[in-house]
Amino acid sequence: MADVRVQLADFDLGAETAALTAGRTDIGGIGSFIGTVRGIAHGRPLATMTLEHYPGMTERAMARIAAEAERRWALLGCTLIHRVGPLHPGDNIVLVLAAATHRQPALDATAFLIDWLKTRAPFWKKERFTDGAETWVDAREDDEAAAARWGAL
């Protein structure tokens, strides 16, 4: 069963990895991805990035994405944490962890999970720049293309 969370607080990569692997000797590889807030967006200095979500549906969508990864690969552990609320440059946004007996399923599942999280879980980013201007981030076509690599749900 995957561990799926939406939270305001930051996460701790080391602690989450330790929790996933504690006391286990069946795991051979752990892939992870962390997405972070960059200080420049579209060439302009960013003040804050605010993450909005759809409480209820977001957690369901994340659990479904994790279940799909577990269906495709024999995962021994899977953690998805996505932050919401106001974030600042350098802050963590999202954590994906996938553990398996070998590296290939762990790494493939990690890539799959972040691709699908980006395109199939209801989160929306609003950028506020240092000059006060605000804009909702547009969906990227290459995110759709990356997600489509893995085939339809």
Partner: protein, 90 residues
């Protein structure tokens, strides 16, 4: 034996919420408004703000009862229907 018709809970997120001006409304749908597409057409006529929110209908996504839904999807009394832009998390 008439039951009072149950409203539909309508949710807006991100720039749809900002354009409509509210995050949530409970509306009793008239006869014939029984799909996502028909609901969008009906909502557009409720106010200028609704019309503005749905002006770019091609960029609006929908979920019915927390599942992604197409314009053809059925909407029934008591449903939770959400409108939002393409997602941009991760």
């Amino acid at each position: 034996m008439d039951d009072a018709p149950r409203p539909v809970q309508i949710l807006y997120f991100a720039w749809l919420r900002e354009r409509v001006g509210i995050g949530e409304e409970h509306l009793t749908l008239p006869e014939g408004v029984d799909t996502v597409g028909a609901l969008v057409g009906w909502l557009r006529q409720r106010s200028d703000r609704h019309a503005a929110a749905f002006a770019l209908a091609a960029t609006v996504r929908c979920a019915v009862n927390q599942d992604f839904a197409t314009p053809e999807a059925a909407v029934r009394p008591g449903d939770e229907v959400a409108f939002f832009p393409p997602v941009t998390g991760g």
